[in-house]
Each structure stands twice: as C-alpha cells, then as structure tokens.
Amino acid sequence: MSAPVGTVDKTEAAATPPPHASAPSRRSRADGIGAASVILALNNIEVVYNHVILVLKGVSLSVPKGHIVALLGANGAGKSTTLKAISNLLRAERGEVTKGSILFEGDEVHSLTANDLVKRGCIQVMEGRHCFAHLTIEENLLTGAYTRRDGNAAIKRDIENVYTYFPRLRERRTSIAGYTSGGEQQMCAIGRALMSRPKMILLDEPSMGLAPQIVEEIFGIVKNLNVKEGVSFLLAEQNTNMALRYASYGYILENGRVVLDGEASALSENEDVKEFYLGVAEGKRKSFRDLKHYKRRKRWLA
C-alpha cells in the first residue's frame, strides 16, 4: 500500500505547482521560494552510526534566509543527529553522512570541519547547554569569538551587544559558568554562539530542563535575534507548542524520516499534530486503540 503512495508523492514533488500548496505537504518549502533565499538545504541525507546503525533515512529540509524553522519530534526521532550532521559534529560520535547533500548558502559543506563551518557562519548550540564550566560567563562568550580575526574592538562591541540581548548575563559576567542557573547557562550558550557572528544558528532543544517561564524568555530572545540580527534558526524541539509559536515553518521527524511539514500555523492546526504532539484531542479522549490507526497512517506518510 505504501509504495505506490510514496511514488505518487515523489513525482508530485518534482512537478509544479502542487495542487494543495497551503496544506501541510511533504514538499520542501525551497521549491516554492527559489534557491536564492535558501540559506540551508538538506537533500535526502542518510546518517549511519558505527557503520551499521541507520539513524536518518533520507531527510530533506530547507531553511529560508532569515526564518526560524522548527524540527520537531519525540526522543530518538533524529533531531539532534540532523543538526550534528549539518554542523559536522557527527564524526566525533562515530556517525557519518552516507548519502545525500547538505548545502549551506549553496555550497556543499559535508566535507568541511565544524571549525570551517563556524567560520562560514553556521554554528550549533548543543543540547544540554554545554557551557565551559570552569570559565566565567564572559570567558565563555569570548571563546565563541575564537574563529574571528577582526580584532578586539569588534569583539568587545559584540559582547556588549550580547549583553543587551541577555541582560542577565551582564550581571553574571564574572561568575563561573558552572555555578550559574540552567537558564543562564542556556543564555550563555546562545550568546557564545552569537559571538561568532553567525548567519545561522542550529539550536538544539533550548527548552530542555528549564522552567516554562525561562523557556518563554529564551524563545522571546531567539525571536528577537531573528528579527533584529537577521539570524536564521533551525530549531530542534520537543516542546512542539512553543516551537510552532515562534517558528514560521516546521518539519516533523519520526524514526529518522520527515513525516509531515508545513507552515507553522498550518501544522499547529493539523489534526494529527494536535493529537500526537500537542496533546489536544478532538472531543473526548481517545483510547490507545486509535494509535494503531495512527501508526498505519504514519507508515503511509513515511
């Protein structure tokens, strides 16, 4: 059953224009916008860990310049792997992109190192914050400027800029990062990434382990950065509700495949998303028997 549907879908993606452009579709948004304004494009990438474990099974997505795109899905769906595949941090975990292409600003970046990519303006903020615990907040920010060659004055100016976005970091600038709160560490991690003057930030689960209020604050700042600094974001999140409120477009990942994608507003209205990711069921609560039905549909979608 699934094979013919899949084939139809693929040919449809190749053809233009699709019959249901506004509805969530499996088409990448890049087709509609034109390649010039796409900052990041993944074409059908496959990732294998330890030479045997297939984690991503053909993921395609694109991020338009100046937009926030959300990458949603449950634990183990492949969100972090996707981000690490882009930022080239995968090799350190014995992962490998075995198929497909990753284009940043139109250039294939697959063979670059993480360091090269940061120089080009694409940086990842890792899941779980990963601040340098024994460095002060300000030293943490300074490490983010490691790849820059434009002098101390510019770096100082940018530190001030980061402090205006994250006033809390200014208060804690001389504190050892390991002793600051989770929210402050997340801010520090984002601020540190900003210090490399990125065009695009790959933001992995900024909401992890933080109080809802702090999450709200951090997402607000992300949006702010997006609007004022023109930084594009690819945002991996489990907090679907939050992510869809701030993103303009979303992809839903399951078992290493994109099963759904669409405008954020359309996704948050989508019945399946509502039911399985936002936890809002139509009418009364459904029983687990219905999961079977969903699983069947998932297979169909994949």
């Binding site: 360091n115 990519l117 120089k119 024994h134 460095l135």
Partner: protein
C-alpha cells in the same frame, strides 16, 4: 643548628623546582585536554636522550634546537596516530592510550638512541657557592646549576600562566579541557589545539630532561622522576600551573627537611634505623592531601550543581 636546616631548606626548594618542571608537563596536557598523560615521564627521558645523543654530533645549542624539532614531531605523531581517533572518548580511555604511548616510547627511544648512560653537559658552573658566610659559620652551600634551573623554571611558569589566563588560545585550551565537543561546536579546532599543547608539553619535558639529565645522567631511570611529579600534582592540583610550582616546592623542601628533622626524632623515639624518609614522605603527604582537599591547593574546584 639553624644553618644546616636553612641549607637543607634551600637545597630542597631548588630540587622542588625541578619536580615542578616535570609536573608542569602533566598540568599542561591535563588542563588542555583532561587527559592524564602517563607518558610525560618517558617524554622527559626521550627528550633528554635526544639532546644527549644529538650533542655528540652537533654543538649544544643546535642539539637543543634539533631536540625541540624532535619533540614537536613526536607531538604531531601522537596527535595524528592516537588522539585524533579518540575525540570525545572517556578520560580513562585516553589515559590508557597514553599508557600505550609510554611503553612504545620507552622502547622506541632505546631503539633510536641506544640504551647506555649518556651525559648532558650544559656547561653550567659546578662549583658550589657559599652565601651568608658572615651570619653562619662556613656559610650556606648552594648548587649554582640548581639555581639556574630554578630561574629557567620560574620564567617558563610565568610565561605559561599568562598564556593560559589571558590569551585567546589559552582560553581555548581551557575550554577544550572543560568540554571537547562544545569546544568543537564553537569552532575551536581540537586537532590543532592538541597538537599545540603536546608540543608545548614536549618542550617542557625537554627542559626538565636537560636539567635532570645534567644532574643525574641520561638513563632509563630518568623516566621515574615522573613518579615524583605525582605527589606534586596532587598537592598543587592537576589543573593549576602555579599549583605545580608550589606543590613542587613543598614536596622538595618537605622531604629534605623531613629527612633532617624528622629522622633523628624517629631514631631516638622508636629506635628505628632511620633514613629513607625522603622516599616516602612525598607520597604520604599527598595521601593526606587527598583526604582533605582532593582537588589540591590550587586545582579547579570540582563543580557539582545540586
């Protein structure tokens, strides 16, 4: 009575500086990669062997310069063949890798340079100096070569401390020590950083090897001075350059003083044979420190958020 004690103290402090020099190599690598480099002692031996043998064919300054090249090449080989493949692995795995490097280098050094006892002649003044002759009868004896070693060590320590604390690369080194992957994610090239730090540690080993080699002769047992660096590290803290110095001074002075002051007491009170205190004093001191202050005097606090 005060004269001999003071003399022992000064002698101990100067020996301590030499301990610090060895400990410094450990600290550098530990600080920058979180790896306890078991091979440091053997690197000292290898460096000393290189200088000793090369100086047979070249004048000393050229031999030293060539030995620097050898140590940098060694750092490159270790980074390329071992560390690069172990990015993001547990500390214990990296430690095991350095254990392998140790035994390889031990044999390889003999294969290349031979296994006889060689000597390094740095042309340092050998005749002891006597100071404060007006205060103490006979004055205090100081070994001038140790004094020079102390001076070199002090310069290296100040330079390295500034390098780590203030410069961009030094900051990157500390960042790498904290979190390999995060350092990579912000664009710090791990391979270059490791190469650099192993090269610097190699050069520190070279200085230590030359000083010890000139003192004891270059032979296999030179690699055992690394064992004396262990209590120094525990005392001073694995991550602190000033700690390595202070630790070295305490151990150096402590063990010599213990021999002179504690020895007679033990002999009188327990009717022991006495002697040999110098051999165990440092380790007992380190053990006591581990119980009270596991991160050492100046080590980075073990950060635990609750």
């Amino acid at each position: 009575m005060l004269g001999p004690i003071l003399e022992t103290l000064i002698g101990g402090l100067l020996t301590g500086v030499l301990y610090s020099l060895v400990a410094l190599g450990f600290v550098l690598i530990f600080k920058a990669s979180g790896v306890f480099n078991f091979a440091q002692g053997v690197m000292v031996l290898f460096a000393a062997l290189s200088v000793a043998r090369l100086s047979e064919f070249f004048p000393m300054p050229i031999a030293i310069a060539l030995a620097v090249v050898v140590m940098i090449a060694l750092a490159y080989a270790i980074e390329f063949l071992v560390l690069r493949r172990l990015v993001n692995q547990e500390g214990i795995i990296l430690f095991m890798a350095t254990l392998g490097v140790t035994y390889f280098l031990e044999g390889f050094g003999q294969t290349v340079w031979g296994s006889d006892i060689y000597k390094i002649d740095l042309g340092m003044p050998k005749n002891p100096i006597f100071v404060l002759e007006s205060v103490f009868p006979g004055g205090l004896l100081i070994d001038p070569s140790e004094l020079i070693a102390a001076l070199i060590c002090a310069i290296m320590v100040v330079a390295l401390a500034i390098f780590f604390q203030v410069t961009r690369v030094g900051r990157a080194l500390r960042a790498v020590a904290d979190d390999h992957q995060a350092a990579q994610s912000v664009g710090i090239p791990l391979n270059q950083i490791w190469l650099m730090v192993w090269a610097v540690a190699g050069i520190v080993a070279l200085v230590a090897g030359m000083m010890w080699g000139a003192k004891l002769g270059v032979q296999f047992s030179l690699s055992l001075v690394a064992l004396k660096a262990l209590p120094v590290l525990i005392l001073g803290g694995f991550t602190s350059i000033p700690g390595a110095i202070v630790g070295g001074l305490i151990i150096g002075a402590g063990e010599k003083l213990a021999e002179v002051v504690l020895g007679p007491v033990l002999i009188r009170m327990f009717d022991l044979a006495g002697g040999g205190i110098e051999n165990w004093f440092a380790y007992v001191l380190a053990l006591m420190f581990l119980l009270v202050r596991p991160q050492g005097l100046f080590g980075e606090k073990i950060i635990e958020r609750v």
